[in-house]
Amino acid sequence: MQNIKHIFKKEFRAYFISPIAYIVISVFLIIIGWLFFSTFFLERQANLSRFFSLLPVTFAFIIPAVTMRLFSEEINVGSYELLLTLPVTFRDIILGKFFSAVAFVGLMLSPTLLYAVSTSLLGELDWGPVAGGYLGAVLLGAAFSAIGLLASSITRNQVVAFIIGMAVCFSLTLLIDFVLFFLPSGLVGIFQYLSANYHFQNIAKGVVDSRDLLYFAALTFVALYVTNLIMQEKK
């Protein structure tokens, strides 16, 4: 447990030593802020549903950029060898890095709470879906972080890690929903269940269902577990 904390601390700090944190946070806020507010005043509705419907796609692009360096950089410069010869287990390393990415996503998301505050000043804001939306955002962020971490563990090239992570996250959000059109009705249920967007939108309605929670927990666990297998295989 202690070691997870130490690795978490080192990784979380590392985000802010390099310019990556500031760039990623700025880009995220610019994109999501623009997309949200460009139609906000036209719709004349005091809710954040549009913000939350945009979030999965934005996360699919942004989070792999957050996680791409976690393993790739270490493998590339060779510090991976140092890390692995310190008295830590794979579990410590993976969880430390994973939680640092989740904490970063949480931090990146926190300025958007101002959207909720400012919306509530303009009209009667229903806080239930907002709370659900942020819970869903954290779960979605965690799942995408785990996928990004997995992508980072298979290559020494950060760009490749980013593209793989983005492709997987993107498939889980938009692509599956798009494919639903063309599927025979028998398969729709199965594919819908695989869609991260579907589960996220359920939670973002303010309905916290155990099936949706389980989906994100399972997705996160599987991605972290496969990362562990890849680290074992690398030896």
């Binding site: 202690q2 070691n3 130490h6 690795i7 601390k9 080192k10 700090r13 590392a14 030593i17 390099s18 410069v77 060779g78 510090s79 060898e81 140092l82 692995l84 010869t85 310190l86 008295p87 830590v88 287990t89 030896k235």
Partner: protein, 238 residues
């Protein structure tokens, strides 16, 4: 202290280490020598838990490498060949991180880091990022990393490579000083350095041990006085 038995490592079809067996006693300074590509670094990487052996056993004290990897890592301080480290971290932050991971108690941590900074002459660069350091300083940060938390065993892969003559003498001095209470394995291409520091020489070539003895015994056995001639004779035979 360390028993290595029938250690073999294949990278795909390439056999990097071929049935290597040797022991290291407590307090011994062992020189692991051999030409580039002989398998030294692979042996270190297996011993320090970075790579898994294809076959063979390693016991460190009472721990088996197949079962107690983390316990063994705790006993070993390792300086990898190129001392590659976190470029963007400050030297102090890096040493602080290693101290945490190695379980140095927080009450003692600052003193311990200070002590190592003095030992490795790092005082004046503690506030700099690792990427700003010269090769020699980087190497010394690597040595401080290896010494962190007073591990009983030190594995040093070419600790003096890239250093200037003054630094080489200083580093050798550090190794000898700490070698009094620790078990050390180290490699170098400077034979006079091995001669001056090591109790025993283990010479490997193409993944196999070609000699495992004190230098005096090797001289008698091969009827050669110069260490260089011995080295060449043993590693150029094939």
């Amino acid at each position: 202290m360390i028993e290595i038995k029938d250690l073999t490592k294949y990278y795909g079809d390439l056999c990097a280490v071929d049935h290597v067996s040797f022991d290291i006693r407590k307090g011994e300074i062992l020189g692991l020598l051999g030409p580039n590509g002989a398998g030294k670094t692979t042996i270190y990487r297996i011993l320090t838990g970075y790579l898994r052996p294809t076959s063979g056993d390693i016991r460190v004290k009472d721990f088996d490498i197949h079962v107690h990897r983390t316990e063994i890592k705790r006993l070993i301080g390792y300086l990898p060949e190129a001392a590659p480290i976190y470029h963007e971290m400050l030297v102090y932050d890096y040493l602080d991180f290693v101290a945490d991971i190695r379980g140095v108690e927080s009450a003692r941590k600052l003193d311990h880091i200070r002590h190592l900074a003095d030992l490795c002459s790092l005082r004046q660069v503690m506030h700099m990022t690792i990427s700003e350091l010269s090769k020699g300083y980087r190497q010394r940060v690597g040595i401080a990393h290896a010494l962190m938390g007073d591990p009983e065993i030190l594995v040093l892969d070419e600790p003096t490579s890239g250093l200037d003559p003054n630094q080489i003498v200083e580093t050798r001095e550090i190794i000898r000083r700490i070698g009094k209470e620790k078990t050390i394995i180290f490699s170098t291409h400077i034979l006079s350095e091995a001669e001056a520091t090591c109790d025993r020489m283990l010479i490997i070539d193409q993944g196999r041990i070609v000699a495992d003895d004190t230098l005096d015994n090797l001289r008698k056995e091969l009827k050669q006085q110069s260490f260089e001639a011995i080295f060449r004779q043993l590693t150029q035979g094939n």
